[in-house]
């Protein structure tokens, strides 16, 4: 082999090696993104009905993955003695929540000093709400004779229901916040009487 051919072969090998290592770095970064955004089951969590809560959110005891997941998905969360966060991305039937669908959410006020249910898009920011309704909370909820609240989310207002408007063809995420939850609920988050999340009719 000529000297030029030798150097050409060596350059090709180096380029291939660099591309492979770059690919390995991309694979590592991509898998990290996937774990933090798409695989919350890798973190210790409690499931109640359609709702899921990470019990180490905001805690100094959180492991590396929990800390990173919380930073990406719920930055500046508080510990569960101060606030508990339950998140729903599926309805009671197990189907992914979509902004173009209408849902009825009903339940009884949780055992906490104050609570709210908020609708977010998949980027975890609020939907435009021309009616100014971004959440239903302990102050705005009207309870029926049985002491239960009901609200709706979706592109269409439902008769006689408090409406959180959602728009677009995109995933929907519901967050139930409990500020100063009762000690019994802190100790046993699975004892939450989970609000029901049910789809209304067909999606737009």
């Amino acid at each position: 082999m000529s000297k030029t051919g030798h150097w050409s072969l060596r350059a090709r090998r180096m380029a291939t090696g660099a591309a492979l290592y770059l690919g390995a770095v991309v694979l590592g970064l991509g898998s990290a993104w996937w774990v933090l955004k798409k695989a919350p089951w890798l973190n210790p969590s409690v499931e109640v009905g359609a709702w899921r809560a990470n019990m180490h959110a905001g805690s100094q005891d959180a492991g590396m993955y929990t800390r990173a997941t919380v930073a990406v998905n719920a930055l500046l969360a508080l510990g569960r003695d101060e606030t508990m966060y339950f998140v729903a991305s599926r309805d009671d039937a197990g189907h992914a929540l979509r902004a173009q669908c209408n849902y009825r959410i009903s339940g009884v006020p949780p055992q906490a000093r104050w609570w709210s249910i908020t609708a977010y898009a998949e980027d975890l920011f609020l939907f435009d709400a021309p009616n100014g309704h971004y959440s239903l909370n302990g102050a705005t909820a009207v309870l029926d004779a049985a002491g239960a609240f009901t609200l709706s989310t979706g592109p269409n207002e439902q008769p006689n229901l408090y409406w959180l408007p959602t728009s677009g063809q995109r995933p929907l995420v519901l967050t139930l916040r409990l500020y100063n939850p009762a000690p019994a609920l802190q100790a046993a988050p699975q004892s939450l009487v989970a609000p029901a999340v049910q789809k209304i009719g067909d999606c737009a």
């Binding site: 492979l20 290592y21 690919g23 390995a24 770095v25 694979l27 590592g28 970064l29 898998s31 990290a32 993104w33 774990v35 933090l36 905001g58 805690s59 100094q60 959180a62 590396m64 993955y65 800390r67 990173a68 919380v70 930073a71 990406v72 998905n73 719920a74 930055l75 500046l76 969360a77 508080l78 510990g79 101060e82 000093r113 104050w114 709210s116 908020t118 977010y120 980027d123 975890l124 920011f125 609020l126 939907f127 435009d128 709400a129 971004y134 959440s135 909370n137 102050a139 705005t140 967050t175 916040r177 500020y179 100063n180």
Partner: protein, 187 residues
């Protein structure tokens, strides 16, 4: 048993080194994510705009246009301070006289929430905190009588004050003066 050739051995180590590289990149990204996000929060464009370095700043009520921190609560009024203890302790004071929920939470530079004081814990008294670095060194400052010393696990971090609002339009006259009692300044 058949001996592996030098060529196979070479490829084994190449594949192994690629796997190790991928795993290290993965772990580094997971470790760094909260720290990078906090740096952006404390020093990014929004922080610069709000001028929150070692002083209190007051966010507008949350709407669909609030896009600096994920999952903003529309039921909270937020007040903030990006603290830096490099030049000494920081004094945090607040006296929000409110019958509703409020809290002051402190976050380390890795995003851990290391301190919270809420309205019930304050029992109607003003909050007076001296935030010192994890060396516990007040750097010659005399702590004010009655003040509470809080040790921060990192020199830089973030303060977030939450004040509950159910109907901002009707409550702003009470809530705004109350939350603007927050002070966050070098001791």
């Amino acid at each position: 048993m058949k001996n592996i050739s030098e060529h196979q051995r070479l490829w084994f180590y190449r594949v192994l080194s690629l796997l190790v590289t991928a795993v290290l990149a993965h772990l580094l990204a997971v470790w760094a994510a909260p720290r990078v996000i906090m740096q952006v929060l404390m020093h990014g464009p929004q922080a610069q705009k709000m001028n929150m370095h070692n002083q209190a700043a007051f966010s507008e009520p949350v709407t669909a246009r609030s896009r600096s921190v994920v999952m903003p609560s529309p039921d909270m009024l937020y007040s903030v301070c990006a603290f830096d203890l490099s030049d000494g302790p920081l004094r945090i004071q607040a006296a929000p006289v409110l019958s509703t929920y409020w809290s002051i939470a402190l976050y380390a530079s890795n995003s851990d929430n290391f301190f919270v004081r809420n309205d019930r814990q304050a029992q109607g008294k003003a909050v007076d905190l001296w935030l010192v670095p994890d060396t516990g060194d007040a750097q010659g400052h005399t702590i004010a009588p009655g003040a509470e010393v809080v040790v921060s696990p990192s020199r830089q971090g973030f303060l977030l004050m939450r004040v509950l609002t159910s109907d901002y339009a009707s409550e702003s006259a009470v809530l705004e003066p109350a939350r603007r009692t927050l002070r966050c300044s070098p001791a």
